[in-house]
Symmetry: C2
Subunit: 167 residues, 2 copies
């Protein structure tokens, strides 16, 4: 199996399901006459990041993970989204970007050394396989799952099947 199969399909599946859950959240907010900004600003705990940032970060980890593993330049994406529409566009642009990759661009990436920032003025170097398994995927799932948890906590009717994109 190409190494690509461990990375890009994982990002694509969850970004697709995140977009569908966000659509349900928008409908729910409208029905409940919730301010969209209030729902997008909801956090699991005051010192955690709000829903909008969880979505931006999920997009970010998918984008940077794929760019780093394929040895591509990392696109500069400003975090400016403040509405459901803008966040949907951010997800859609991320999906479009991920779809530009061909499996061959990831060939050999599992063994190649990847250097990436892990803190202010700090970088870490590891194999592509380790980068994907120990850092990129868990970070990506962290933000997708936390976004899901925020939606659940806000009362949006999404479940595990929505999370997995199995609907």
């Amino acid at each position: 199996m190409p190494f690509y199969d461990s990375a890009v399909p994982a990002y694509l599946q969850m970004l697709g399901s995140l977009s569908a859950s966000l659509k349900k959240a928008e409908t729910y907010a409208a029905a409940k006459k919730m301010e969209p900004a209030a729902l997008l600003g909801t956090r699991l705990f005051p010192d955690m990041l709000p829903l909008s940032r969880q979505i931006q970060l999920a997009c970010d980890f998918a984008t940077k993970g794929s760019a780093r593993l394929s040895g591509s330049e990392i696109p500069a994406v400003p975090d400016t989204e403040t509405t459901f529409d803008e966040l949907q566009q951010r997800i859609a642009r991320t999906i479009d970007y991920l779809k530009t990759f061909k499996p061959a661009q990831f060939d050999g990436a599992e063994a190649r050394e990847i250097t990436f920032p892990t803190g202010p003025g700090k970088t870490t170097t590891m194999s592509g396989q380790q980068f994907l398994t120990s850092f990129s995927l868990p970070s990506f799932y962290f933000h997708v799952t936390t976004a899901h948890g925020i939606l659940r906590m806000a009362g949006v009717e999404v479940g595990k099947r929505d999370f997995l994109g199995a609907n």
Copy 2:
């Protein structure tokens, strides 16, 4: 890279970090004079599963994922844990089980067909790679992240570094 590297190290890393976060939670509960059972029964939302079940399910997905990919018999593990100690033992036993696998047991599993239950009376068949990427890992990370979110919501001082096991 052996296919093993996409699966077992991922489970081991997060179960290790989950155990460390749970240790912090136990210390926190004692310091705050919280009933351990109250913290272990905390949910993000009333119709979601409590912390104790999130931990059991994380162990379950790691166990079953590894068993299915290696073509091993799936161990029967009853969900009986009700205390911090018992949950720590559940995690420790899961880690011990995962460590029994040799990378060679996963060779070729990426292309092999895996059939697994996806609902009452329903099974799904897909390649090992797809099973891991589209079902086992996202489900595993879902429960590990939700456990983390519950701890955060309860005020336990754990962060992204604890989640990743980078401490």
